[in-house]
């Protein structure tokens, strides 16, 4: 909300400087968004008169002027403005002045042989607009020699504050003035006492046909008026806050909207059909052509004001064009009503109409103000437009707003952390308009002023449906007691300034705090570090992407399709973070960086339930490994992704020996080059593999791309068992190599498993150290070479024992896989 300082001073008697006012506004919760002081840069410019205007002797397009800056000492000024003429008044800048529009500081000079001792200014040169067609041409009565800024009313800084949704009262300048006065910045000037003498019966009557549409309404007509432009002071104020002056009647309603936070509306009586204005709910099919030039289709949930012809206003939100006041209006009817804030908010949102009236009604206006506001508005309209007032027409009753609240003084410290003397607290509340109903040493009960609907309001609770009823009731009772008190604590502390509350460090239960992360949370952090340590760059990407892209990576159920996406390419919750990383790889490749290793700890979305959101550690490697003399570059492959996934699982304490890899990875992978890491038949811990060629083509990823997902939620909590003693046998291990010829379709894992299981006592490790497939072997066969570590425990193994265990190993492998030992 914006207001010029002069408007504030209309309501606030204060000696405080602008700076003090701004600091106080910030302190008391009326945050200053900005101050526009249009006059500051123009302070030195004076109103001057052109006494002579001659053609420049040496330049066709220039004139030589003699200018009186106000002291009678004529200055020679060379000027190019076509409109410069003898006798005109304009604005002069003297040497040393900074010209905002050109950014230079003025110096005395000589232009083609004629001295130029000053400068006559255009609006653009003063930074007051784009007009550079000539120098400013002031009216003849502009006072010679005076400050231009003062005369033009530009020395009135415009303050903009942001008003929080609870403070409807501060959406009027008077409410701001009241707060500042309460904070000690002066006194609130009383409103004038209007005297309106009704001269005739009201030509229109109110009818509240549906109490949902309006609680209470007053109206009064003025006849015999002449509507025209409003006076300069009013226009200046409205222009200052960004409003367009329209005509005196409408401008007065705006004066009340912004000055008192009390929106009014004026109907042109001659344009109203019939003699009744009805507050009712709209009917299906009714429309309103509103003052903003738009047509609205009304619904039965909208409260309207109707005449015999139909809807003439969306009550409390916007008036209708057909019955608005213009220059031809000779009789107007002022509406001053109270509406249900909730209905206003919902209607306004339904039709997306944001008006100043709506902003005030949905926050709540002062329910006690209408009679006075109506009289004040009547008086001002008659003052500006002439005419005589009718009697007041009224309907409905003002809603009961009177209520009280109690503050226990100890709560100022107990809740607010501030030791505030009781007298100070009570004084602050009284300055805000609260009146003391009862007070003792421990507490005070105050009546809440009509304009503070945010204090001790009766907004309903919305308790969790699953609460135990007794518990819910106790909580609700407690809230009814504590909430109004918290409101009062806030008011007292607000005026005092929260900076005065001494900070206190949180008490801790011990010097060494317990772990902040659960085991599961710590796993996620560790997974991120493991991947970064493996050379991957940790990414954070949007959890939604284009549905078409998402579909390449998995299911895209309609329940996860946004109803109101901000962009068409951000409309579907992603099935896996791999999707985001693949898009990132494509973007990087397009910038000339095809070789990437990216990881993300992010969410995959399966359905909208909390369980449908999976925590996934995902990664993607694309392109080639780095070139290095000692380590040749090669394309990344599926085993890089497998290595990443297994490294995460190992770091998170998963028992690796029991894991199995199956070849049924999701469809976004290459079906023959991907796998699923399982713990037991049901638990899927990870997937990995090369991205499907079709998907790479769709995303424009030219080179190889490998990805993996580790499902962090699926990893069981590691058992907290103390480690046993390490295995430190007294005998040297011995290693034997075996090479098998086996069908290429047999998983290597099967050989390793068979060899490990051949003699659980002696075989402690089996490693695959060579794999050969080529034309030296029969078609469809590969050679796999295993190194088996044998660990004797009781005694060194004899040759016979070694032969025996080697035989067991070969037999086990042959039996499990159909392999043949290579000679």
């Amino acid at each position: 909300m914006k207001f010029p300082l002069s408007w504030l001073r209309r309501h606030l008697e204060t000696e405080a400087s602008l700076e003090t006012i701004l600091a106080t506004l910030n302190r008391i919760g009326l945050e200053v968004e900005g101050v526009e002081d249009r006059g500051a840069a123009l302070a030195s410019f004076r109103i001057a008169q052109v006494v002579e205007a001659e053609q420049h002797p040496n330049a066709d397009r220039l004139r030589a002027l003699k200018v009186d800056p106000g002291d009678g000492k004529l200055l020679s000024v060379v000027c190019g403005a076509p409109n410069a003429r003898a006798g005109m008044k304009g604005v002069v800048a003297l040497p040393g002045a900074f010209i905002p529009g050109t950014g230079i500081t003025l110096k005395k000079g000589e232009i083609r042989g004629v001295a130029s001792e000053a400068m006559m200014l255009s609006a653009r040169e003063m930074g007051l607009g784009d007009d550079h067609s000539g120098i400013v041409d002031l009216p003849a009565d502009a006072p010679l020699g005076e400050s231009y800024v003062t005369w033009a009313g530009l020395d009135d800084p415009i303050i903009e504050i942001s008003v929080t949704p609870n403070r409807g009262d501060a959406l009027g300048v008077r409410g701001v003035a009241r707060d500042l006065a309460a904070a000690g910045l002066g006194t609130l000037k009383p409103l004038p006492t209007p005297k309106v003498t009704p001269a005739y019966p009201a030509p229109l009557r109110w009818e509240i046909a549906d109490p949902r549409a309006c609680d209470h309404v007053l109206g009064r007509a003025i006849r015999g008026l002449r509507n025209g432009p409003s006076p300069k002071w009013l226009q200046d104020w409205l222009v200052a806050i960004g409003q367009r002056p329209i005509n005196a009647l409408v401008d007065v309603t705006n004066l009340f909207t912004f000055g008192l936070g009390r929106p009014l509306h004026v109907f042109d009586v001659a344009k109203v059909k019939g003699n009744t204005l009805t507050m009712r709910m709209a009917r299906e099919g009714e429309t309103l052509s509103a003052l903003n030039g738009k047509e609205y289709a009304l619904t039965p949930e909208d409260g309207i004001i109707a005449d015999a012809a139909g809807p003439e206003a969306l009550g409390g939100i916007i008036g209708g064009a057909p019955t608005g006041c213009d220059e031809t209006t000779t009789e107007c009817f002022i509406e001053c009503a109270l509406f249900d804030p909730v209905r206003i908010a919902l209607s306004g949102r339904r039709h997306d109409i944001r008006t100043d009236a709506r902003a005030r009604f949905e926050r709540g206006v002062d329910p006690a103000l209408p009679p006075l506001a109506l009289d004040l508005a009547t008086e001002l309209m008659i003052e500006l437009c002439g005419g005589e007032a009718s009697e007041v027409s009224a309907a409905g009753t003002p809603p009961a707003w009177q209520r009280s609240a109690t503050l226990r003084f100890e709560r100022l410290a107990g809740l607010g952390g501030a030791e505030v003397p009781a007298d100070e607290a009570v004084g602050a509340l009284e300055r805000l308009g609260f009146t003391v109903e009862a007070r003792d040493a421990a507490k005070v009960t105050v009546a809440v002023p009509s304009w503070r609907n945010d204090i001790a309001g009766h907004g309903a609770l919305d308790q969790f449906p699953g609460l135990d009823p007794a518990r819910a009731r106790a909580a609700a009772e407690g809230c009814a007691v504590i909430e109004p008190e918290a409101d009062l604590v806030e008011e007292v502390l607000r005026l005092r300034g929260l900076d005065s509350i001494p900070p206190v460090s949180l008490p801790v239960s011990g010097i060494v705090p317990p772990p902040a992360l659960t085991a599961k949370q710590a796993r996620a952090v560790l997974a991120r570090r493991v991947l970064a340590a493996r050379g991957m760059l940790d990414c954070v990407s949007f959890g939604f992407l284009e549905a078409k892209t998402a579909a390449l990576f998995g299911a895209t159920p309609p329940e996860l399709h946004l109803e109101n996406p901000i962009a068409a390419d951000l409309d579907q919750m992603r099935p896996t973070p791999v999707a985001s990383l693949a898009l990132a790889a494509a973007r990087n490749a397009a910038r000339g960086w095809p070789d990437v290793a990216l990881s993300e700890l992010g969410a995959a979305y399966r359905d909208p339930s909390p369980e449908g959101q999976l925590a996934v550690a995902a990664g993607l490697r694309a392109g080639q490994t780095p070139r290095h003399w000692a380590d040749a570059s090669r394309p990344v492959d599926a085993f890089d992704a497998k290595g990443d996934a297994l490294a995460v699982l190992a770091a998170l304490g998963v028992p690796m020996a029991a894991l199995q890899v199956t070849a049924d990875a999701p469809g976004f992978y290459h079906p023959g080059r991907s796998g699923v890491v399982r713990q037991g038949p049901k638990t899927v811990l990870a997937t990995f593999g090369e991205l499907h060629p079709k998907l790479r083509a769709a995303l424009d990823i030219a080179g190889p791309a490998m990805a993996f997902e580790v499902f962090l939620d699926a990893i069981p909590e590691p058992k907290k068992r103390k480690k046993g003693a390490p295995d430190l046998p007294a005998f040297q291990p011995l290693r034997r190599d075996f090479a098998f010829l086996v069908d290429a379709t047999v998983p290597a894992e099967a050989l390793l498993r068979a060899a490990r299981g051949a003699d659980k006592a002696l075989v402690t490790d089996v490693a695959l150290f060579d794999r050969y497939a080529g034309d030296k072997l029969p078609e469809g066969k590969v050679s796999l070479a295993l190194q088996v570590t044998l660990q004797p425990r009781e005694a060194t193994l004899t040759d016979a024992e070694i032969e025996a265990v080697a035989g067991k190993i070969v037999a086990a492998v042959v039996k499990a896989t159909g392999a043949a030992l290579r000679g």
């Binding site: 929080t164 919305d462 909430e483 329940e559 985001s580 070849a663």
Partner: protein, 359 residues
């Protein structure tokens, strides 16, 4: 009615397409049918010679046939390509049970600045006795708004620019949480006080420009206990801000404000130099977070009796404090995964935040 020669061409082409076993054979069929001197092309060329009274009918029939043949030829191409791809994929099969290499490919890895700030938040609030609570990104309307004293008509709902998902069985539309505050309600419903949690997490609002991202991150704080007051809130935040920014005398200012879920509410500013961006000096103020004493209605909505329990809550933007701390100028690259940006701002995974080593 299709004349006999057209029906014959259709049958013949179908037969040839079925017989085309690879793309080369397929292309021969295509050229022989639709090519410059293809059979269909020939028939079309011959249309001029047809008697005028039959020309229209035959022309229409030819066009129909052309459409049919074109789609049959295209369908066969797709089928052959699919078959070729399948054959290729089958031929490319790897034994994925092979053990991976013992080491990862060389590369410069690193931790994203948002993740880094997450860890710093955990370390610094952890030292003050906080633990980390979490909640899902997709929340009910009640948890995101109603529980927090933001009823349906509240003006604050409009300010939140909420993303909605389709209504579920209960007729309510789930939302992408607009703040981490729903986890306040989740925590109060899930455990008895005393409560001392922070909630770092993803949040979403339909706003996208130089300073707003539709997905961003917040950290929520919630302390519920007996005798926790506004002074504790100030102390807790001052302790955090000074440690986080590493400025022992960082000026911190508290301004009265309003949030539906706290009362009294306050906004917190830190001192900085608007021109240089330097924190801790310069006489200007920068708004950095919102906070307040938990509103009695929020407590009561979650089953806590405000006569017995009180506490404070705060929320701040993780990107914002990260950008301020490191002097990062632009929000948008945070989510773009640009290799060059990530390498520049990433931190070393082997040097996680530690109170012992300094943060």
């Amino acid at each position: 009615m299709m004349s006999d020669d057209l029906a014959a061409l259709r049958a013949e082409t179908a037969e040839q397409l079925a017989a085309a076993a690879d793309l080369r054979a397929w292309d021969a069929v295509r050229v022989a049918t639709l090519g410059k001197s293809g059979k269909l092309t020939g028939l079309l060329k011959g249309l001029g010679a047809v008697p005028a009274e039959q020309r229209k009918e035959r022309g229409a029939a030819l066009n129909r046939l052309k459409g049919e043949l074109e789609s049959a030829i295209e369908a066969r191409r797709l089928a052959l390509e699919d078959a070729a791809l399948e054959a290729r994929l089958a031929a490319e099969r790897l034994d994925v049970t092979l053990p991976p290499r013992p080491a990862a490919p060389a590369g410069e890895g690193g931790i994203h600045p948002i993740s880094r700030t997450f860890e710093e938040l955990v370390a610094l609030f952890g030292a003050q006795g906080f633990s980390v609570a979490e909640g899902p990104d997709i929340e009910s309307d009640w948890l995101n708004f109603s529980a927090l004293n933001i009823p349906d008509h509240h003006p604050a709902r409009q300010d939140h620019d909420t993303f909605y998902l389709p209504a579920g069985a209960d007729g309510r539309r789930p939302v992408l949480r607009t703040h981490t505050s729903p986890v306040q309600a989740r925590t109060m419903l899930g455990q008895e006080p005393p409560i001392r949690v922070i909630v770092p997490g993803r949040t979403w609002r339909a706003d996208h420009d130089a300073t707003h991202s539709p997905m961003f991150h917040q950290v929520e704080g919630l302390v519920i206990d007996r005798g926790i007051h506004l002074g504790h809130l100030k102390g807790c935040l001052i302790d955090f801000l000074r440690a986080f920014f590493g400025i022992a005398d960082l000026p911190v200012r508290f301004r009265s404000s309003y949030f539906p879920f706290t009362e009294p509410s306050m906004e917190v500013d830190i001192g900085w130099n608007r021109k240089t961006g330097q924190l801790g000096a310069g006489g200007d103020w920068l708004e950095i977070l919102g906070s307040g004493m938990v509103h009695p209605k929020v407590l009561a909505n979650c089953g806590l009796d405000p006569r017995e329990w009180q506490g404070f809550a705060f929320g701040m933007g993780i990107e914002r404090i990260t950008m301020l701390k490191h002097g990062m100028p632009d929000l948008r690259p945070f989510y773009e995964s640009d290799l060059r940006w990530l390498r520049h701002w990433a931190s070393d995974p082997l040097s996680p935040p530690s109170l012992a080593e300094g943060i």
